[in-house]
Structure formats: structure tokens, C-alpha cells
């Protein structure tokens, strides 16, 4: 677990040496297709579909609740 957290911090933290990006340069980052989490409703529907057939789930948020998906 510690290794995973350290890894997550490293993935993003290693990028701290990257180019400073001024606010006026962030226009492309505001595009809908740059969203890290897709549309709320549709993303959940698809995620439930996959997780009903696989052992793995979660990772993006907390408090999502469970289901008796068969």
C-alpha cells in the first residue's frame, strides 16, 4: 500500500520539473476531451457494466456504494 501511494505521488510529482504553465496557456486543458473524469452519468453506467463481470473495481473516487450485480 505504501508503495502504491509513493508511486502515485511519484507519477505526478516527478512531473514537477516540467514546464511551468501560465494560466493563459491553459486553454487546451479546458477542452471537454481533456477531462480526467468523463460525464458523470454515462461513466458510472459503463463502469458498473464492467465491474459486474470483473473482480476489480474502483480507484477514481470514494463513496460510490455497491450493487448486487450478477
Amino acid at each position: 500500500m505504501i508503495r502504491a501511494i509513493a508511486g502515485a505521488v511519484l507519477v505526478a510529482g516527478a512531473c514537477c520539473a516540467c514546464t511551468p504553465v501560465a494560466p493563459y496557456q491553459r486553454g487546451y486543458l479546458a477542452r471537454p476531451d481533456m477531462a480526467l473524469a468523463p460525464d458523470t452519468g454515462t461513466a458510472k453506467a459503463l463502469e458498473k457494466t464492467y465491474s459486474a463481470k470483473e473482480a476489480a473495481s474502483g480507484g477514481a473516487s470514494v463513496g460510490g456504494g455497491g450493487c448486487g450485480c450478477n
Partner: protein
């Protein structure tokens, strides 16, 4: 280096004013909110979608979904969604070696279930800090779930970096339509820590670790194992028996990179998962969203999934009979490929229509590195998703 990046990624050119508006919208927003509020002047969005999913010879799911989000008084954000799962068809309930080798069998019982679910998510911004609370409820005839979560986000380094931390709790009740006496609890505590970083004017990355500690009833009341032994006349029928706890770890990393010259965006997500049942899983999804003019875009995507088997997975009942054993093939070793294609059309007023078609193919031969469980029955399914969303 900085000068090079600046040449590669100048401030977006105005294209009908849209990108200029995006730039204006992006100036004051934290990373996590940037793309969610890309419509600049918009303060909210409503959407409706219908998901259809059909397995070959097994179940069929139809799921209408409705959602809305709004920004209120500049510092509040409210998101809500509701969905109904309508599930019909047959679900495999028995794994038996009657024919010689263990296979999944579909019993006569068919599923006719309905799940109602809804959630509410409220966020309050305090300068560079944001605090969110969420509540989710899901009800089926044989499963009830109430979950809540709290999450804090801090924007650092002129909003180049965002740290997120969260806690969630899920209180579930497990029942069974074939055993009316079953009403068992399952409680799960979840903890999440994440980092999001803007890498360049064209790319960003997010990495999140979530751990969950679950306690309670995990047996699937619909799964049975029927095993015949060569030296025994009568077979043994055993109900699904799993541990009464499950600790999981999910490590999700997302990367986005826009290519202005190609009018396209690369979206890549990778998740590593492990739990104390012995399952290790990897999920990789890569998508390429290509704009075709100002109105249309197309998004081909490929999702790959692979997992190892749970320590107690067995398609037959071993002798001596263990305390815990399950033949549920979702706990087997297998892999899956799922290609999909999404087509998007944006109206001038901001309304967006999307259609997605996808295929799911899970098989033991698709497990990474081989070694898929022999008894795994190949799953083939198709899904379609149509959605309409409108800003306001």
C-alpha cells in the same frame, strides 16, 4: 525547455470564439474543474442517456440515466444523477463437471431484476481549497446500498498541482430472492489519496490510490458448485463460500494529451488492482478523440483487462472440502478486450449528442501471460450508449 514548449503550444487560436472562451474559462479554474466547466459561460448541464448491454445467450441490461450539474453563487457545485437498471435474461448459477470437465451451466431460473440508484455530490470552494460531500443510494430486490463520501482538494503551485484526499463509507445489506431469510450486512471503508498535475499547456496526469476495507457478507447466494467424483456415487452440491472480509487497493493513473495540429486528444487510463483474496488485475484503456470539423468528433477506444484468480477459486469442490470455495468465474483468471467507438455531434446552442457502440470479449486465453482458468466460459457481449446533454 520552457521556450520550446511555448512554441509548441501557443495559446489557442480563436475558432469561432470557442477556444478563446475556453481559455477565459480556464484562467481561474482549478485543474479538476477545468474540463468539467469547459463551456465558459455555462453554469450547468443536464443530460440523459440510455445504456443497452446484451450478453450472448445470457442477460440483457437496459439502463436509462439522467444527470445534472450546476454551479451556484460561484463557490458551490452540485451534481446529481439517477439511473434504473432493468435486468432480464438468464445468469449462470451452477458450475458442474457432469460432462467430465467443469463448465458453467445456466439453470432454468431467469433474472428479472431492477435496480434504482441515485447520487448527490455537493462541493464548496474556499479559494484554493474545496470540500465535497456525496451520498449514493442503490436499491434492488436483493441488495441495498447506502454510501457517503467526503473529499478535500487543495490547489498548489498556482493551480499546477492538486492534491485530493477522501474518505467514504458504504453500508450494504445483502439479500436473496431464493432465500428470503438472508439479510446480511456488509460495510466498507474507503480511503483515497490523489495527485493531479498539469505537465504542459497540452497535457496533464492524475494518479490516485484508493484502499478499501470491507467486512461482512460476500457469499453470492446465486452461485453453486456441483461436483461429481469418480469414486463416489452421489455428487456434492455446495453453496458459494467466501471470506467475510475484503481489503482492496486500486491505483488509477490517467493521462491526457491534446494534439492541436491533429485536432485530437489522447486519453490513457491505467489501473492496478490487488486484494487480499489473491486477485491482481490490470486495466488499460486508450482512446483517441478526433475532431472532424467544429461539430463532429469520433473516439475509437480499446480497453484491455486481465486478472489472476482468487486463492479460493475452484470450479470443482476439492477434497478435503475447504472452508471457503467459490466457482464464480468472475474470480477466475482471465482477460478481456473491449473495443468501442463513440460519435459526438455538437449543436450550435451547446447541446451535445453522443452515441457509443462497444463489444466485450472476455476469455481465459486473453489473460496477460497466459494461465487463464480452464473452466472459464468465454463471455461475448455488445453494448450501446446514447446520450444527450445540454448546458444552461
Amino acid at each position: 525547455m520552457a521556450a520550446t514548449e511555448d512554441r509548441e503550444a501557443p495559446a489557442p487560436r480563436a475558432r469561432g470564439g470557442a477556444l478563446a472562451a475556453l481559455t477565459q474559462a480556464a484562467l481561474a479554474l482549478p485543474i479538476l474543474a477545468i474540463a468539467a466547466r469547459a463551456g465558459a459561460a455555462q453554469v450547468g448541464e443536464v443530460g440523459i442517456a440510455v445504456l443497452g448491454y446484451k450478453e450472448r445467450g445470457l442477460i440483457k441490461v437496459t439502463e436509462p440515466v439522467i444527470w445534472a450539474n450546476a454551479q451556484i453563487a460561484e463557490v458551490w457545485e452540485v451534481q446529481a444523477s439517477a439511473a434504473i437498471d432493468i435486468i432480464t435474461g438468464a445468469s449462470p448459477q451452477l458450475v458442474t463437471n457432469l460432462s467430465g470437465k467443469p463448465v458453467q451451466a445456466v439453470t432454468g431460473a431467469s433474472i428479472n431484476d431492477r435496480r434504482n440508484t441515485g447520487d448527490l455530490h455537493v462541493t464548496r470552494h474556499f479559494g484554493d481549497f474545496a470540500l465535497s460531500g456525496s451520498y449514493t443510494e442503490s436499491n434492488e430486490e436483493d441488495y441495498h446500498s447506502r454510501a457517503y463520501g467526503v473529499e478535500g482538494r487543495w490547489d498548489l503551485d498556482h493551480k499546477l498541482t492538486t492534491i485530493a484526499a477522501g474518505y467514504g463509507r458504504s453500508n450494504d445489506r445483502v439479500g436473496s430472492s431464493i432465500d428470503q431469510t438472508l439479510n446480511a450486512p456488509r460495510h466498507t471503508d474507503e480511503y483515497m489519496l490523489g495527485v493531479t498535475r498539469i505537465l504542459t499547456p497540452l497535457s496533464l496526469v492524475q494518479s490516485t490510490v484508493a484502499i478499501a476495507r470491507g467486512r461482512g457478507w460476500y457469499n453470492d447466494p446465486y452461485k453453486l458448485t456441483l461436483t461429481f467424483y469418480p469414486d463416489q456415487i452421489l455428487p456434492i452440491l455446495l453453496a458459494d463460500r467466501r471470506p467475510d472480509h475484503r481489503d482492496t487497493l486500486s491505483w488509477l493513473t490517467r493521462y491526457r494529451r491534446h494534439f492541436p495540429g491533429a485536432n485530437a486528444t489522447l486519453q490513457a487510463d491505467y489501473r492496478y488492482y490487488r486484494d487480499d483474496w489473491g486477485i491482481r488485475a490490470h486495466t488499460l484503456e486508450v482512446a483517441w478523440q478526433q475532431d472532424l470539423g467544429d461539430r463532429w468528433s469520433v473516439r475509437p477506444a480499446l480497453r484491455y483487462y486481465t486478472q489472476s484468480a482468487a486463492d479460493f477459486y475452484s470450479p470443482t469442490i476439492p477434497r478435503p472440502q475447504p472452508e471457503i470455495v467459490s466457482s464464480d468465474q468472475r474470480l477466475a483468471a482471465f482477460g478481456g478486450l473491449s473495443p468501442s467507438l463513440r460519435l459526438t455531434y455538437r449543436f450550435a446552442g451547446g447541446t451535445v449528442i453522443e452515441g457509443t457502440a462497444g463489444y466485450v470479449h472476455d476469455a481465459r486465453s486473453l489473460r496477460f501471460g497466459g494461465g487463464g482458468s480452464e473452466a472459464y466460459t468465454t463471455l461475448r457481449a455488445v453494448f450501446g450508449l446514447v446520450s444527450v446533454s445540454r448546458p444552461f
